[in-house]
Amino acid sequence: MDVKLFDSELKVMDVLWREGDAAAKYIAETLKEEVGWNKNTTYTLIKRCMKKGAIERLEPNFMCHALIPKEAVQEAKTEELINKIYDGSADKLFAALLNRKNFSREEICRLKQLVEDLE
């Protein structure tokens, strides 16, 4: 069965695919250098991967083992991801370029027409 992983989780898996089994601590240190994540972030991602069945935890020392090969992983589709986190509070909290979730075909056409009309 194909497992869907987010970009961030794929980054974690990358370390394991590249270097084989590694300690969680080592993964955190590597990723800190590569992408600037702090320890908590990496650990959270490792746990998420474990929940999805992509990583297996081995004792001692919180060793991580990749359960699935690279080929078996499907990148989660964009729409699925975006729907997961967007909610109306974001536009009040952060400066976003567009605060609408998405626009229908007709709405896009109408906006384009508006530009033409006002030109």
């Binding site: 975006i82 729907n83 974001a90 952060f94 370029l97 998405n102 896009i108």
Partner: protein, 431 residues
């Protein structure tokens, strides 16, 4: 100043700005309205202890209207009691209520801590008018310890709304942690060329559909994963737009807007302000982009925004009516934008002055006695000055009477009357 007073006068300011915004938004730089909203925030978030000796309320009073109102309400407050409000409130008798009201208006009482005002006022809230007129109050349920139901209700509201946004903010920040550094060389080149004192990062995240920015000390621009720029111009438009948000510390403004909305959660005008001010933040940003890239770039910029909107998923959304209009509003504003002229800047200056006048005019009076004295003797010209000047008024009291002052007072009255009649029209039209 009590919470209720802040809310009421804030509400008046909001309505005035709504009117002005509707009338002048295509004729002055959008940034003007941000200054006006800032004045409202000042009113809503800061309990001003410095009170103008002359204000709308005190003028009403000197005209004898407040006496009439008091008689009408069937309660009379002896002058001496008004002037010498006693200490902590004990219970709910009318006499004590009167004393407490005097206490609220007097800024001589050192014991009047802001917290006290908030909590006492939560009990007095509904029937208060700023001019000292007393009306019948429904008895408030209160426990022996003095914590009333209204206080609990109020603070629950604040906790609930504030908690909601805090929770959302923390959730997003945690998700943002897992973003990856941007890899597009053109983007990296752009970041290098940015002259900003703070260190700016641009990162990519697969969980978002639209570029956004967060962070005050260490600002970050987040780009949706795999964003394909149509051309380098689009990239510059988008990144510049976010950069302007960063430069203007819009994150801080959004925080203050949200805070005001949570503290005044019961006031629908404040929520309306929150929505409109947020939109103005975006519109002002768009304006600045056009200013930087030139009038000829309007169509290209508008089309860039639309193509960005296109790329998001096609799942049907619940999208609120506001946000559907917001995008249209932006496109129209961009296409209609004209170069700043001396006229538009002068207009902006006048509007800011107008806001200052209104701000000062809606400051509450001091106690009735003091004000009667102040009105009789000297009158300062603080009414048509901005905030920093109100501090000077207390010393100016001793100075010469100014004829301009009486003129500006007359000017105040029609304006505030106009806003009060506009009150009825605006809520419908804005919705």
């Amino acid at each position: 100043m009590t919470l209720w007073e802040m809310g009421v006068s804030g509400g008046i300011l909001i309505l005035a700005i709504l009117a002005v915004r509707r009338l002048f938004q295509s004729r002055v730089p959008r940034r003007t309205f941000l200054i006006l909203w800032a004045a409202v925030l000042l009113r809503l978030l800061v309990p001003w202890r410095l009170e103008a000796p002359v204000s709308f309320y005190s003028l009403l009073e000197s005209a004898g209207i407040t006496d009439e109102l008091e008689k009408f309400a069937g309660i009379s407050i002896p002058e001496s009691e008004m002037r010498n409000g006693s200490g902590e409130r004990a219970g709910n008798g009318a006499k004590e209520r009167a004393e407490n009201r005097a206490e609220e208006f007097s800024d001589e009482r050192a014991e009047n801590r802001i917290g006290n005002e908030f909590s006492e006022n939560a009990e007095n809230a509904p029937e208060e008018t700023g001019n000292g007129a007393v009306s019948e109050e429904p008895p408030f349920p209160s426990a022996g310890s003095g914590i009333s139901l209204w206080k609990i209700l109020y603070f629950s509201g604040v906790l609930f709304s504030g908690g909601f946004y805090l929770k959302a903010y923390l959730k997003y920040r945690r998700l943002f942690c897992a973003s990856l550094p941007a890899e597009d060389p053109k983007v990296l080149e752009w970041v290098q060329s940015v002259p900003l004192k703070r260190k700016l990062k641009v990162r990519s995240l697969d969980l978002i559909g639209t570029p956004m920015t967060y962070g005050v000390l260490r600002p970050v621009i987040l780009l949706p994963k795999g964003i394909q720029w149509e051309d380098s111009r689009q990239m510059e438009f988008v990144l510049t737009h976010e950069l302007i948000h960063v430069r203007r510390f819009d994150a801080v403004w959004k925080f203050f807007l949200l805070s005001a909305a949570c503290i005044h959660w019961f006031n629908p005008l404040v929520w309306l302000m929150q929505i409109l001010a947020n939109r103005d933040l975006e519109l002002a940003c768009d304006e600045e982009v056009i200013e930087q890239f030139g009038q000829d770039s309007r169509k290209a910029y508008a089309m860039s925004l639309i193509s960005l909107a296109e790329r998001k998923g096609s799942v049907a959304s619940w999208g609120s009516g506001f946000s559907k209009d917001a995008m249209e509003e932006r496109i129209a504003a961009i296409m209609r934008k004209r170069k700043y002229t001396k006229g538009s800047l002068a207009g902006a200056g006048i509007l800011v002055l107008f806001a200052g006048v209104l701000f000062a005019a809606t400051l509450p009076q001091k106690t009735a006695g003091e004000n009667a004295a102040a009105v009789e003797t000297e009158v300062s010209e603080n009414a048509d000055r901005d905030l920093p000047e109100t501090e000077a008024t207390e010393s100016a009291e001793k100075d010469l009477p100014e004829t301009e002052a009486s003129e500006s007072n007359e000017k105040d009255l029609p304006e505030t009357e106009a806003t009060e009649s506009a009150e009825k029209d605006l809520p419908e039209t804005e919705a």
